[in-house]
């Protein structure tokens, strides 16, 4: 049952061949069987899931159902979920039962999608390996020695292992696309502003964007249909006409101009990853696309710029965690300052503290111009590189990450090396552009994704390119042997 596409599942639900309760129970059984070893869920919500599945079955029976009605979903533990623990992977929020739903959660509830649980992640989404979670590292279903990527590593792992048919993720510097690449699944980061940030625990507000994590591009298109849309409660939510992201699926790629940045295939890119990505681009060319060389000359400036700006925003966003209104409070504070300091020191993990400290320093008197303002200028230069590139091509293709999944523990003591591994995904977040990762092969027996970046609001086109690629390849249908 867990190997069906979302459309096939929906057809079976609508035809009465299966019920949502049966489908949901199937996934709950698999979670009970496999999640002990993977640690991909922070919280599993079986009672809520079955109750929602029963409601979905009533809607299916009465004819009041949409395509996704009755199909269960796993939410990254960054989405506030009313009445359910929402930890953001942190001890700080280990006791936090969200008092309201994120907009994304509301949208998927309205459609009638049972909630299986909340997936593991790097603490406060700050990481590229899902090792910094208070609840321990998630393992990669393809190889338990390997990280699943991050920060949405739990979400990627549950899709790869068939512990959920659909998952939500967020992407601030690559946190949907890099784990999608490492776990051999499909993930899209939409244009900034397409999906409401309301109820998503904030990391870096001018970068954070939510998106679907699924087996195929077609599945992502269906889920994005439900996630996207205007929400007045997010001041950066875009007021646009409702888009059907499945409408372009089926368009030919004949004449599509694919830009390949010369700078992306240089030093530091693993040779096997390079071969996989180049083969995938050749496959797209066979579908009728034209390959053109482009240049993104400022790509090396993106990582330092991001690691100034995102921590700066985080240092402000995370000042709300003070031990007073919700979350962790230290034992027996001797005065108010002690309460703040010890609650934050004991509640936050090491990487979160580091980013808050670096961010506060970059914003502090005497360093603002040198770090923050300079990084904002580089942000524009990196964004302008893309705008210029899109004058000579429709989309850009390249690697998602310089390597396949690295081993658990391999980079946890070397932050800068971990930061540099985001070099292909971060430029996209600086620009607020949409980008997709689709499974394209294996390197060192671990999955590798193809990165497809488009101009603003090109999500439907990106998903169609992924879909067309998946019509002639079968990487997205592959499942780790023990999870078939």
């Amino acid at each position: 049952m867990h190997n069906l596409t979302i459309k096939q599942m929906s057809e079976k639900l609508h035809a009465g061949d299966i019920t949502s309760v049966q489908l949901t129970q199937h996934y709950l059984d698999r979670i009970a069987q496999f999640d002990g070893e993977l640690n991909a869920y922070v919280t599993v919500t079986p009672e809520l899931a079955i109750q929602m599945a029963e409601e979905a079955d009533q809607r299916l029976a009465s004819g009041d159902a949409e395509l996704l009605t009755g199909i269960p979903v796993a939410h990254k533990d960054i989405f506030c979920t009313d009445g359910v623990k929402t930890s953001c992977g942190s001890k700080m929020l280990d006791n936090f039962i969200a008092p309201y739903d994120a907009h994304v959660v509301t949208q998927l509830k309205k459609v009638g999608m049972p909630i299986l649980g909340k997936t593991n992640m790097d603490e406060f989404a700050m990481g590229s390996s899902s090792e910094s979670s208070y609840y321990g590292a998630t393992k990669n279903p393809w190889d338990h020695q390997a990280v699943p990527g991050g920060s949405s590593g739990g979400a990627a792992a549950v899709i790869a292992a068939g512990l959920a048919p659909l998952a939500t993720g967020t992407d601030t510097g690559g946190s949907i696309r890099q784990p999608a690449s490492f776990c051999g699944i499909t993930g899209i980061k939409p244009t900034y502003g397409v999906v409401s940030r309301f109820g998503i625990i904030a990391y870096a507000s001018s970068f954070d964007q939510a998106g679907p994590m699924t087996r195929s591009a077609e599945d992502s298109a269906w889920l994005l249909n439900a996630m996207a849309g205007f929400d007045a409660r997010d001041s950066t939510s875009l007021e646009r006409e409702k888009i059907d992201y499945t409408a372009a699926l089926g368009h030919s790629l004949k004449g599509l101009k694919v830009g390949v940045p010369a700078e992306y295939f240089g030093e530091g890119l693993d040779a096997e990853v390079e071969a996989v990505v180049k083969n995938a681009i050749a496959e797209v060319e066979k579908l009728g696309a034209e390959i053109v060389e482009i240049h993104l000359p400022n790509k090396d400036l993106a990582v330092p710029s991001y690691y100034v700006l995102a921590p700066a925003e985080a240092s402000s966003n995370l000042s709300r965690f003070d031990g007073v209104r919700f979350g962790y409070r230290c034992e027996q504070p001797k005065d108010l300052t002690d309460l703040y300091k010890r609650s934050r020191s004991e509640g936050f993990g090491e990487e979160v503290k580091r980013r808050i400290m670096v961010g506060a320093y970059a914003l502090s008197a005497g360093y603002y111009d040198e770090y923050y303002l300079k990084a904002q200028k580089l942000r524009r230069m990196v964004r302008d590189d893309f705008i210029k590139a899109f004058q000579s091509c429709d989309v850009i293709m390249g690697p998602v990450a310089p390597t396949s999944a690295f081993n658990i523990g391999e980079k946890s003591d070397d932050q800068v090396s971990m930061y540099l591994s985001d070099l292909y995904t971060i430029p996209v977040n600086l620009g607020g552009l949409p980008a997709l990762s689709v499974p394209a092969g294996f390197a060192q027996n671990r999955p590798v994704g193809l990165h497809i970046v488009g101009p603003y609001f090109s999500e439907a086109q990106l998903l169609n390119i992924g879909h067309q690629f998946q019509q002639v390849t079968d990487w997205h249908t592959k499942t780790p042997a023990q999870y078939q």
Partner: protein, 95 residues
């Protein structure tokens, strides 16, 4: 750039994050490594570049000046570490 004890104490004060005496050196080293990464930005010529704060060229959306929030203090304070009579409780500040 290398940070010293004084800078770490200053950042600790700014962020209200405690750094224990024995951890200062390690924290200084790791923060310095990150600042070395930032130093790569210096070489770029940004003289005529405007800073970009946000990916969208949008203006702040305004809404009618009407009440949209209802009083939910009981629900919201139910998850507070310490609350009583609609107040959050903290250690005494004023003697």
């Amino acid at each position: 750039m290398s940070l010293g004890k004084a800078e770490v104490e200053y950042i600790s004060r700014l962020t209200q994050i405690e750094v224990r005496e024995e951890a200062v050196e390690g924290v200084a080293q790791k923060l310095s490594n990150i600042l070395d990464l930032f130093a790569q930005m210096e070489a770029a010529d940004t003289q005529d570049v405007l800073p970009m704060a946000h990916p969208l060229d949008a203006v702040q959306r305004l809404r009618p000046d009407v009440v949209t929030e209802v009083d939910q203090h009981e629900k919201l304070q139910a998850i507070a570490p310490a609350a009583a009579e609609a107040h959050y409780l903290v250690p005494q500040v004023i003697e």
